[in-house]
């Protein structure tokens, strides 16, 4: 004999003494959902109450929890109340998971900006001021890209075709504006690409400034036409919004100049103080660093787990205000982690903040097991029409030549039917090893068992690989997978290999628990679509942008 699933719904008033209310006995039609990525999604229920009575339990902003025993199943905040009436007055309440706090505010940050499009001409007033001070903007300014050449891309100040004028400085300035975001550092290398070196008459300097007319600034070392690599200019205040690199020269006049000065791979870094990763000039930050930084900006959310990553993102700048959640989603395209905001998972945790997880995927772990007989409305459809036995990967190599390589795999379903299907995949500028990797990743997804998606419902107890038998109310889309027993076709059912595979194990993408019926029922949506290829493409695209400037 076991007692019924002990679900409770409690709300906690925000502010003041935080008075708590137990709503369990007063509500109908309770349901809640979770989604990956995102976490706790939405919770709805109906109260049969007078519209005009004070209902502090369901005030907007109240924290809402759905609990089972000492476990928190869902946590969020009340946001919507809808009044209606048929046989009696009702108030329908909708709460959203605390991940909504990631959308409450906006952020702007330059984690690292190596995009040359942010650099340009000085402002009109600046030109006017500098001309009045005796500077002649004769040299040409350009952006040097990198393709087959070994020299890295940079901002070029070309003094060739320039003749010096007595008592007049010949120079150029290239300015950067971060859209109002404070600059923390400017990283760069300086190279004398052409012309004599080591002349103190040259002024080759970088600056970080408050405005476009250099009212206040921090200045870097004057390189005086001497190569200097891996430099750092640090802003001393949060008021620096601009960066500037400048080269100028003064002599007695009449000299035909042959100089080409380069400000190589300039990178602007904000004031986030994250520890640089990588080796110059391939520096940047990892996704976990930046995600942690973003989440720490959001009040009401605590970081519970962020798994360390290794890929160094060399370009991540958010100059336009955007919600923190959008920044997290954008950064996650490089890793494909499971993330979401949840309630606390320990009974000793008294926090009412959202708990943020950012976890590596575990595609091989069978977190949940549900036998076929306990599934209702089971619906799994595979896109077998997209099975491929080979992929032709086309890319443009370092020398600019377009090449194609073929990667192949045995697909029993196609081979048995005598079908050969080849997919053309163009990945743009790349290398052969990357092309091979992408081709193999494509076939890993589309060359064995076509991804299946769909879902099922269950009211029966489900088995967790560590916690044992649990009510289906414990199911949630937190990066876990579900293995469905008894669904293999006869040709596969008797294989001895019972290890997790894509035939029986499905990532959970969304769970909706419905307690409006006689017993709680969970609807689980699954999707085997794999982000590996898109992650590789995102990383490859980043590399292409930086080298091609």
């Amino acid at each position: 004999m076991h007692p019924r699933t002990q679900i409770r719904v409690v709300s906690i008033e925000q502010g003041g003494e935080g008075q708590g209310h137990d709503l369990t006995d007063d509500i109908e039609g309770l349901s809640w959902s979770s989604v990956n990525p995102g976490g706790d999604e939405r919770c709805t229920f109906t109260l049969k109450r007078s519209w005009f009575s004070a209902n502090p339990e369901i005030e907007r902003g109240n924290l809402l929890r759905v609990m089972c025993g000492i476990d928190v199943l869902w946590q969020g905040r009340v946001e919507e109340t809808n009044r209606s009436a048929d046989s009696t007055e009702k108030i329908a309440v909708t709460a959203y998971g605390l991940g909504a706090r990631l959308k409450d505010g906006t952020f702007q940050e330059i984690f690292i900006d190596g995009d040359f499009s942010g650099w340009g001409e000085p402002s009109t007033q600046r030109r006017l001021n500098q001309v009045g001070a005796g500077l002649s903007f004769s040299p040409q300014v350009s952006i040097g890209a990198q393709d087959a050449g070994a020299t890295e891309p940079g901002l070029l100040i070309d003094f060739t075709s320039t003749e010096t004028v007595a008592s007049r400085a010949m120079g150029a300035e290239i300015w950067y504006y971060g859209g109002g975001v404070s600059i923390g550092k400017l990283r760069y290398s300086f190279l004398v690409l052409s012309g004599p070196e080591g002349n103190a008459t040259w002024q080759d300097q970088a600056f970080v400034l408050n405005d476009d007319i250099a009212s206040a600034f921090n200045s870097g070392t004057d390189h005086n036409a001497t190569d200097s690599t891996n430099r750092t200019l640090t802003a001393t205040t949060a008021t620096r919004k601009y960066a500037l690199v400048a080269s100028n020269y003064t002599d007695g006049g009449g000299t035909d100049m042959t100089d080409l000065h380069g400000w190589i791979v300039p990178k602007v870094i904000g004031r986030h103080e994250l520890t640089e990763q990588g080796t110059w000039p391939n520096i940047g930050f990892t996704v976990d660093q930046m995600v942690r930084y973003l989440v720490e900006l959001v009040p009401g959310i605590s970081i519970r787990r962020i798994d360390e990553q290794s890929f160094v993102v060399q370009q991540a700048a958010y100059k336009e205000p955007q919600p923190h959640e959008d920044g997290i989603s954008d950064l996650n395209r490089f890793e494909g982690c499971d993330w979401g905001t949840w309630g606390p998972d320990s009974p000793l945790d008294t926090s009412i903040e959202g708990q943020f997880d950012f976890k590596d995927r575990e595609p091989e772990t069978q977190h949940w097991f549900v036998p076929r007989r306990d599934c209702e409305d089971l619906d799994l459809h595979s896109e077998t029409s997209t099975l491929y036995g080979a992929v032709d990967v086309t890319f443009e190599d370092e020398t600019g030549v377009r090449r194609t390589i073929r990667r192949e795999v045995d697909v029993p379903d196609l081979d048995g039917a005598g079908i050969t299907r080849v997919y053309p995949l163009d990945i743009g500028k790349s290398r052969q090893d990357v092309a091979e990797q992408m081709g193999d990743a494509f076939l890993a997804i589309w060359g064995q068992f076509a991804p299946a998606r769909g879902g099922f419902s269950t009211s029966a107890p489900v088995r967790h690989h560590e916690r044992g038998e649990l009510s289906p109310v414990y199911l949630r889309a937190d990066g876990s997978n579900v293995r469905l027993g008894g669904i293999l076709p006869s040709t596969s059912a008797l294989t001895l290999d019972s290890s997790p595979d894509r035939r029986t194990t499905f990532p959970i993408k969304r769970v909706e628990v419905d307690c409006s019926g006689e017993v709680p029922a969970a609807r689980v949506d699954v999707d085997q679509a794999n982000d590996t290829l898109s992650i590789l493409q995102a990383r490859q695209g980043l590399e292409s942008e930086l080298v091609a400037a």
């Binding site: 019924r4 906690i12 935080g18 000793l348 007989r373």
Partner: protein, 464 residues
Amino acid sequence: MAQVLKVGDRDLSPYVRVAHDDGLDPANPEFSEPQFSGSPALGDGQSFVGDAVNNRLMSYPLILSADSTDELYALVREINGDLVKGAQVEYRSGGASQSTFFDLERGRLEPKFEFWIDQAAKVRAMLHLWVRPYGHTGTYRTVIPSFVATGPQTLQATGILGDVFAQGLLRVDSGPTYLASPVHPHMIAFGISQSPSYVGVWRAASLTNVGASSALIGASGAVASQYLGVNASPVGIQAFAWLQFPDGDLKNYEGRQRMLVVARSRVALASGAPAISAVAGANSLHDGRRIGSVVASHSAQWQVYDVGEWSVPRASGLKHPDQSERIEFFWSSASPGQPSSIAASLIASPAFQISAIMLVPLDVAAGIHLGNNWDITGSGESSGGDVHFLFSNEGVTRKLNASTFWRDESEKLRGNGPLLPPTGSPVASGPLSVVFAMGNPKHFLGNRPVKLALSARERFTYLR
């Protein structure tokens, strides 16, 4: 004995009609409907997933009478006024020796107007009462009148009657020793297990010492004044204790339990803190089923750590190789994901100390109350400064000391009041186990006095 029907204070016994086809039905069984799940196309039969339990509809045919028709109508009005939510219904059949009590949700008196009977100041009526589904004994019966001890405990509760879970009332008295300051963080944790052999508290002396250089050490303030100390190099991963179960004993722990550990770390790391890890049935940290791990900050105070949830499959006595008969505890100088070679600095020796393991069974009923402000300078419930906590399964109310309740946030009351499983009626059941712990989770004293009392209101699906 005569039949009894009372609603609140009103005795309706004289009005009840008992003829065979009058419709007397005090024990309508159609309040519970078993629910099944699964697709008939995919298997034979369907799995039972629970009962849908609704309010019980009781029907009492009455014939009301008064001295006059006006007084009869007044009687009808008075009876209607009694039919309010929360009223108690008492019913005893003529042959029973004890009454069964029910909690009224709503009632409706349906008089049937018949002119000539009305002239005689009488009216036939059907009284419909919608009550909470289970009858009960009406009052709480003391099961454990007074339990006094020190530190976390496992105690036995015996003799629970009925054929559904009884509603329990657990009263905890803190005693004046908690009143050192008006701000006093506390934790009260309890769990109910149906196994009389359940051991919920494992003191240091009960643990199997397997550390290379660990020993049992006496210390005032530790649970049972002892702890197991590991005096090894603070770098790396090391197993230091087993929680060993005798052969065949694991069946007493079937289901889920929350594992709380009373421990303290005397090691500081540059970038993290030592972690306690628990693994079931393993020879190494990586082989068995990992229960969980927790970061233990260095502190001179004993602290309560939530290691995680341990689950034992229901196996009807069969052994499960992945559970084995022991839980192994490791302490690691690295946080999860970090290399194990991080240097650490020893603050005191022994480096790591464990005083007790507490298993809180979750499958029947468990509750954890956490609070950070006990103020008894207001109206305490008794003299002597005791602070009372009542964990009850009655409705949704958690009764706390009047001066503190209004400050509490509902989310700090995790879990439900105690449900006490019976094993049959009318014979009282065998003992069940109650695990209990109370103290400041950040400064846990193992010699804190504990004062408990447990009462039960037994319940029935039919009549008592």
